[in-house]
């Protein structure tokens, strides 16, 4: 089938014919402006990057650049890569209690109390912290989603994390299926994690006397997880999601650097022991999130309840609101998060001498009963039209500021000499994050 000598005359004649048919409405000769800003769809990456600065009052500070890249594949699948680098430094609590007298500890790298350069002394009344804490972590992950059919997708992924004293590798796989004109999605995923720990100075014998410096070599731990999820579009503006998850960890779950003070009846420390945690932990959690969206605003409320075999149960509630300006190119997003947890069964801020019946114990404040509030504010601005053509749809600059305050529930009253000391200090921390999405 050959066309006439000028191929584009087909179009011109067609325009003329439709003009005649429609008289007024086909008056415009141009083809209209239909652009396909589908750069993300076809062989193109969408990049998100951020730099975060985190500081705990008087303790840790961290700098963390993160970059992630997402690419939509021509078969409808998706590939996600991410990469993080953490640099932490500062002071980390070692688990011992404050005292009216100065206390001296050895850094994890020390082999005995005689090696002076590895020692640090804590002033009276202060929470003992290791001032030489520093760590660098590199982590990355890959995730690949491929469609099995029009309504079903399979994902597989892997993550790794590498620090001086800790390596971790995780593999995960999941399936998702849509029903009800894609208004309902059900998902099931499993994951498996393997960690290799090589504590600085060696892993101490759990529950052993600190002064003996009984340290061994390396340890391992494993984790498996199962997640069942249901997402439902409730109305045009409202999306609801519920997840049930079950995780099990086993192996060396103890923190090799943490101690527990041994305090006698008068309140004086007679020594310290290394902590010891059980070698298994099973955790169940339920998560419910509701998100609503309108033209200029959106809101999300997320709730989580978690319980585990260490006796910890926790509740979390987080509320996020986002407001767009009239031009819909800038937004503010305030958020608030409330968290409460109960203490682990074996949480002991200190122990009495000869408390031999207590096999498992830890003074790590992260296992204590506490509640915490986080206030956050995020600001974002779309740069698409501001960079003179450089920006694509979706180019955005954002800033997030968060303030975290944790209050540990007061434990048993301390004996004798420890009264008057703040044994359960609260923690305050600030996070500043600057991000650029392209």
């Amino acid at each position: 089938m050959q066309l006439g000598p000028d191929p584009s005359s087909v179009r011109r004649r067609l325009i003329a014919a439709s003009c005649a048919l429609l008289s007024s409405s086909a008056a415009r000769g141009e083809q209209g402006s239909v652009t396909d800003k589908i750069g993300r769809m076809v062989e193109d990456w969408k990049i998100q990057s951020a730099l975060a600065y985190y500081r705990e009052d008087g303790r840790i500070q961290a700098i963390e650049p993160v970059i992630s890249a997402v690419r939509d594949l021509s078969d409808g699948g998706r590939l996600t890569l991410n990469f993080t680098f953490d640099s932490l430094s500062g002071s980390s609590p070692n688990g011992a209690l404050p005292n009216h007298n100065p206390q001296t500890f050895a850094s994890p790298s020390a082999r005995s109390l005689a090696a002076a350069r590895h020692l640090y002394t804590v002033a009276p009344g202060r929470l003992p912290v290791d001032p030489n804490y520093s760590d660098a972590r590199v982590a990355g992950g890959v995730d690949w989603t491929l469609p099995l059919s029009r309504l079903t997708r399979l994902s597989v992924g892997g993550k790794f994390s590498y620090e001086d004293d800790f390596y971790s590798a995780t593999a995960n796989a999941g399936v998702e299926h849509d029903f009800n004109d894609k208004n309902t999605t059900v998902s099931l995923s499993v994951s498996s994690e393997n960690d290799f720990l090589q504590p600085i100075g060696g892993a101490p014998t759990p529950r052993s006397d600190y002064a003996l410096f009984e340290k061994g070599g390396h340890e391992t731990k494993r984790g498996q997880g199962l997640l069942l999820g249901l997402t439902q579009v409730m109305t045009r503006n409202w999306l609801s999601e519920v997840n049930l998850s079950l995780d099990r960890f086993s192996g060396y779950l103890t923190d090799p650097y943490k101690l527990v003070s041994v305090i006698d009846g008068a309140g004086d420390p007679v020594g310290y022991v290394y902590e010891n945690r059980p070698d298994s932990r099973t955790r169940r959690s339920v998560y419910l999130e509701n998100r609503v969206g309108w033209t200029r605003a959106s809101a999300g409320l997320a709730l989580r309840y978690m319980t585990d075999t260490w006796g910890i149960h926790s509740d979390t509630a987080q509320l996020r609101l986002r407001w767009w300006n009239a031009g819909r190119d800038q937004y503010f997003e305030p958020s608030v998060r409330w968290y409460r947890q109960s203490a682990a069964d074996f949480y002991r801020p200190w122990i009495a001498p000869n408390a031999a019946q207590e096999t498992y114990l830890s003074a790590d404040s992260r296992l204590a009963a506490f509640h915490a509030l986080t206030y956050g504010l995020k600001y974002g601005i779309k740069l698409t039209d501001r960079l003179g053509g450089f920006g694509r749809g979706g180019t955005e600059f954002n800033v997030r500021l968060e303030y975290y305050q944790q209050t540990i529930q007061n434990g048993p009253a301390a004996p004798g000499a420890l009264q008057g000391l703040d044994l359960y200090p609260s923690l305050k921390a600030v996070l500043l994050q600057i991000g650029f999405d392209y």
Partner: protein, 275 residues
């Protein structure tokens, strides 16, 4: 028209939005009632009932027949509104039941717009032949509804009848975002197009085909042979200034089969083609 039809308006009052929606709907139903091949009270049914006698057409129908004739000439016989009777032989239900050659052969003498006598406004359709405006009806309805709204609505709006759409001008804070679903069973991701003004029309439908011995027979039939155009693309979307023009271009591209992409490139239109 069996797909969902909508009009998108950034109106602030529900009552004015509803009114405009009803205007567009009324126009769509009017056209459907007048030109549907399924309705006994349509103009087409009336023409067929004349069994070969000459009829005088109203202005609107006359301009549609004019347009169909021009398309027949421009496409050198590929676009033919008398080819509708091939649906008696072909049922595109995804099965492997091809019609037998004789059935199709027997229909060919009843196909061919050159056999119709047309001198505006007088039309003579030979007895036994049928006219089918399914190939242009929906896009025409979009353009007519668009005209109705243009006269009444100063705000930007977008008319979308089952995927054939036309926008008057961009929204206050940016273009309209239109999702085009891919017809493939495996791909779920839609293409997102940003439309400021103009029309889009799509030809092709993944669910209307036959599959026999691994060969896929698309539903676009060549009126000269009565058989599906070989190597027709699965879907073609074209952008143009009117929906009728876009619709014709996408239909013509499908009829070009293996040369669809080349045809669209020669026409210098924005298009998206899937095989």
């Amino acid at each position: 028209m069996a797909g969902p039809c909508e009009v998108l308006l950034p109106a602030t009052e529900l009552s004015s939005a509803r009114e405009l929606g009803e205007v567009a709907a009324a126009e769509a139903w009017r056209i459907e009632k007048k030109y549907s091949r399924y309705r006994q009270d349509s103009v087409l049914a009336w023409i067929h009932a004349q069994q070969g006698s000459t009829v005088r057409l109203d202005e609107e129908t006359a301009s549609l027949i004019d347009f169909a004739q021009q398309c027949f000439v421009i496409s050198e016989g590929l676009f033919d509104i008398t080819s509708g009777i091939l649906r008696r032989a072909w049922k595109f239900d995804g099965s492997d039941r091809l019609p037998d050659v004789a059935t199709v052969q027997n229909l060919l003498p009843l196909i061919g717009f050159d056999k119709v006598r047309w001198r505006n406004p007088f039309l003579t359709v030979p007895d036994g032949m049928e006219l089918d405006l399914g190939g242009i009806g929906k896009e025409y309805a979009v353009d007519k509804a668009y005209d109705q709204l243009m006269a009444r609505c100063p705000a930007p709006f977008l008319v979308n009848f089952g995927g054939d759409l036309r926008a008057s001008r961009p929204l206050p804070n940016g273009p309209w975002k239109v999702g085009i679903e891919r017809p493939d069973t495996v791909q779920t991701a839609a293409m997102i197009l940003e439309v400021e003004y103009g029309a889009l029309a799509t030809s092709g439908d993944a669910h209307r085909f036959l599959l026999k011995d691994g060969v896929r027979f698309g539903h676009v039939l060549d009126p000269r042979t009565g058989w599906p155009v070989p190597d027709a693309p699965r879907s073609v979307t074209v952008a143009a200034s009117s929906c009728t023009e876009a619709g014709l271009l996408s239909t013509l591209a499908m009829l070009k089969g293996a040369r669809a992409q080349q045809f669209l490139q020669e026409q210098a239109v924005r298009y998206w083609l899937l095989r």
